[in-house]
């Protein structure tokens, strides 16, 4: 069954193009022209993903986002904005949007983001149901030195102590841990973990590797777990004997 997407965008040309392309990509798409309609629609027939324009009559994208999250609705939200100011971006994320794209954007990028968001939502659901199901085996776990990763529980322990990870940081660490000794370039990591590879977003990988190191390394300035391979990329050390 194809995923359902709700598009809320007041500019007819852009809305029609979004609907056309998303339908072409095999999604089931409905579209509205303002924020209030989006909230009504979502209440009546919940969809799997929301694409919200920031500037809309009635309720704007931020308000819709806030209203949905206040009701405990965790549907993934992709925000579209013509304003590229930092304020709007941060606000969007703090208010619970999952990702954003600034206009003008390419359709290919939009489709990649949609795909990545849906996949992540699927993964999360799967992990949650697995964790909740009593029948699930606690067995599978990855160990690397002091690190112990429990993929099903989405938990990381270092010397027995539980570390706090964001979802993306965990995914990145898991990807490294699943392929110890394997060298990944930033573009490969973006593709494998984020789900889209688009030129200009590699810096996100750098930032996340930086954070991983701050959490798992003894001395982040001299990493021992997540290593740099000059000119090639990053790898996790192979588990010490």
């Amino acid at each position: 069954m194809p995923a359902t997407i709700l598009v809320a965008e007041d500019q007819v040309d852009i809305r029609d193009l979004l609907v056309l392309n998303l339908r072409g990509a095999g999604y089931e798409v409905s579209a509205v022209g303002d924020g209030l309609a989006a909230l009504r629609q979502q209440a009546a027939a919940p969809c799997d993903l929301l694409i919200l324009d920031l500037m809309m009559p009635g309720k704007d994208g931020l308000e819709v986002c806030k209203a949905l999250r206040a009701k405990g609705n965790a549907v993934p939200i992709l925000m579209l904005t013509a304003k590229s100011t930092e304020l709007d971006r941060v606000l969007g994320l703090e208010l619970g949007a999952d990702d954003y794209l600034t206009k003008p954007f390419s359709l290919a990028e939009l489709l990649a983001r949609v795909k990545a968001l849906l996949r992540r939502a699927d993964l999360l659901r799967a992990a949650q149901s697995a964790a909740n199901s009593p029948a699930s085996s606690p067995g599978q776990r990855l160990c690397n030195g002091e690190l112990e990763i429990l993929p099903v529980k989405r938990q990381v322990r270092r010397r027995g102590e539980i570390l706090e990870f964001t979802a993306l940081e965990f995914d990145l660490l898991l990807h490294f841990a699943a392929h110890p000794g394997h060298v990944f370039s930033r573009a490969q990591l973006l593709d494998a973990v984020w789900g889209y590879s688009h030129d200009g977003y590699e810096h996100t990988v750098t930032t996340h590797i930086n954070r991983l190191r701050a959490k798992v390394e003894n001395d982040p300035m001299h990493p021992e777990v997540i290593l740099t391979v000059r000119g090639a990329g990053y790898k996790m050390r192979e588990a010490p004997p």
């Binding site: 965790a74 993934p76 590229s84 100011t85 930092e86 304020l87 941060v90 994320l93 703090e94 619970g96 999952d98 990702d99 954003y100 600034t102 003008p104 390419s106 990545a116 968001l117 992540r120 939502a121 999360l124 964001t166 979802a167 993306l168 940081e169 370039s185 930033r186 573009a187 984020w194 030129d199 590699e202 810096h203 996100t204 750098t206 930032t207 996340h208 930086n210 954070r211 190191r213 701050a214 959490k215 390394e217 001395d219 982040p220 300035m221 001299h222 740099t228 000059r230 000119g231 090639a232 990329g233």
Partner: protein, 546 residues
């Protein structure tokens, strides 16, 4: 009414009132002094006269002899009159010229009041009494009670010796009296001093308020002619004495005000000039921008119109490859326009005063490796060698010194470096080399992007980092941010935000080198871990939720 006038009037009025008061005081003191001395002399005189002779008895026996004696006593003071009175004040004998009616009574009240003064007899400094010849109570008088039997002290007063000290021969008015007296020179002196002081105060006020007037004139001049005209030659905000430098001011408050005003003017002028320069750039930029946007849009519109015309004619056979090419051209041009608009928006964002970097501590050489990796393929396609060097800029094979850690906004710094590499790739021909360096120099970290491309002519070098400036001699291909005069401006702005500097040196025909210098991180490992955690907690990345 000006402050100056007000001050001057106040001082003149004060001077006048002071001198009037001084005159009045002198007059009063003089009069009182005169009366007191007169009274004392008269009193002493009467005491001497009255003790010598039994006057009342003499009058009863020989009135004419007494009168003659009294006249002889008064020879020394011809203006004063001596009277012999009985207890009720009836004149018994007198030295006066005027003929008094028989039984004329002198008003004794003032004399008796003085004698019964609660402070004791003689406490009053002088007594003003009745002058029988003038019928007025405005003359200094002295009286001596006379008793018949001197032995018995409680014997009632049986008569008075009464002295009227009248001044005659002197002019009547007090002013004339004063003018002829010793006090007059003193008074003149006092008045002279008051006048001198008033004049002095007026002069001080004038000198004090003159700088204010100059300042007012200067401000008015600026208001009238404008800041720019005012900045021209021949304009001096606070004209000082000839020969004195324009910045020399007196050291008082007005001098300070003057210097402060001049400083303010200089600053405002500088800012005004900066604004004008900026405005000029913006206008030039908007014109360039409009041109840069118009070209891709023209191309796009042309492509789409061609396609529309073709599809409107059903008879025309569709030319698949040709159509496809048109769509590609339209797409490429639209993307260029979109990129330009994006860059413009980003630059505006970076310019916002409240824009904040999201810094984290990063090993720059590692980042440089990663950025280089992004461009290796493109460089290879163009036949250009792209390499990342570690160690010092001169000899790459040295022992890996301290890793160049620094606090940066990864997204922005990567963008800046990518812009530089993109530029180099755009201008370099096949066979050229592009080298990237990251080195720590003392407490700074240097990033170098060096190419062996065609170089940049000297006149262009200085303005390369200006917004919208592009060399019209060698226009860049319209890709990326660089070709539209915004790429280097964005680089400059990003480095400025990092408290760093960016410098470009180029030699036509040899190549170009851009050096970015950033402050090195001086944090402990612990500090870095903390910093990294703070960054990750601030909800920075997209897609971390859900």
């Amino acid at each position: 009414m000006t402050v100056r006038l007000k001050l001057a009037l106040t001082i003149v009025a004060t001077g006048l009132i002071t001198s009037l008061l001084v005159i009045a005081t002198v007059l009063y003191a003089f009069q009182r002094f005169e009366r007191e001395t007169t009274f004392q002399r008269a009193h002493a005189f009467l005491a001497r006269v009255a003790t010598n002779v039994e006057l009342l008895e003499l009058h009863e026996r020989q009135p004419s002899e007494l009168n003659a004696w009294m006249r002889s006593v008064m020879l020394y003071e011809p203006d004063s009159q001596l009277y012999l009175l009985d207890a009720q004040g009836t004149v018994l004998s007198s030295t006066g010229q005027a003929l008094l009616p028989p039984g004329f009574k002198v008003a004794l009240a003032p004399v008796q009041a003085a004698a019964q003064d609660p402070r004791g007899p003689g406490a009053m400094p002088y007594v003003m009494g009745d002058d029988p010849e003038r019928m007025a109570l405005d003359t200094v008088v002295a009286a001596r009670p006379l008793r018949r039997a001197v032995i018995r002290s409680n014997e009632p007063v049986s008569g008075y010796l009464y002295l009227v000290c009248r001044k005659q021969g002197l002019p009547g008015s007090q002013w004339d009296v004063l003018r002829n007296s010793f006090a007059f020179p003193a008074l003149l002196l006092i008045l002279g001093i008051v006048a001198l002081m008033t004049g002095l105060a007026a002069a001080i006020i004038a000198s004090v308020t003159r700088p204010l007037q100059r300042l007012t004139a200067a401000v008015a001049g600026i208001s009238l002619t404008g800041l720019e005209r005012g900045a021209g030659p021949g304009f001096d905000a606070l004209p000082t004495a000839p020969g004195a430098g324009p910045t020399q001011h007196r050291r008082d408050e007005f001098g300070q005000l003057g210097s402060a005003f001049e400083m303010m003017l200089t600053t405002v002028r500088k800012q005004w000039q900066a604004l004008q320069r900026l405005d000029h750039f913006r206008r030039e930029g908007v014109s360039n921008l409009s041109h840069d946007l118009r070209s891709p849009l023209t191309a796009t519109v042309a492509c789409l119109e061609t396609l529309e015309a073709r599809w409107a004619l059903p008879t025309q056979p569709s030319r698949g490859d040709d159509d496809r090419h048109l769509v590609e051209v339209a797409l490429r041009n639209t993307r260029n326009a979109a990129r330009l608009v994006q860059a413009l928006g980003d630059l505006a964002k970076l310019d916002e005063p409240e824009f904040k970097l999201r810094t984290e501590i990063v090993d720059l050489s590692e980042l440089l490796d990663d950025i280089g990796a992004r461009f290796v393929q493109r460089a290879a396609q163009q036949g250009i060698t792209l390499s990342v060097q570690h160690g010092t800029a001169q000899t790459s094979a040295e022992s890996p010194a301290q890793a160049p850690f620094t606090a940066i906004d990864v997204e922005l710094l990567e963008r800046a470096v990518a812009n530089l590499i993109d530029n180099a790739l755009k201008f370099c021909a096949a066979g050229a080399r592009i080298e990237l360096f990251a080195t720590q120099v003392a407490d700074r970290v240097e990033l170098r992007v060096r190419d062996t491309g065609p170089g940049i002519p000297a006149p262009d070098q200085a303005r390369l980092f200006d917004r919208f400036y592009q060399t019209r001699t060698t226009p860049a291909p319209a890709t990326g941010e660089g070709g539209k005069g915004l790429g280097l401006a964005i680089v400059k702005r990003i480095i400025e935000l990092h408290a760093g500097t960016v410098a470009l040196s180029s030699e036509p025909g040899r190549g170009t080198e851009v050096v970015i210098s950033l402050p090195a991180a001086r944090l402990s490992a612990q500090g870095i871990a903390t910093l990294a955690r703070t960054v990750s907690d601030s909800g920075h990345a997209a897609a971390t939720k859900g």
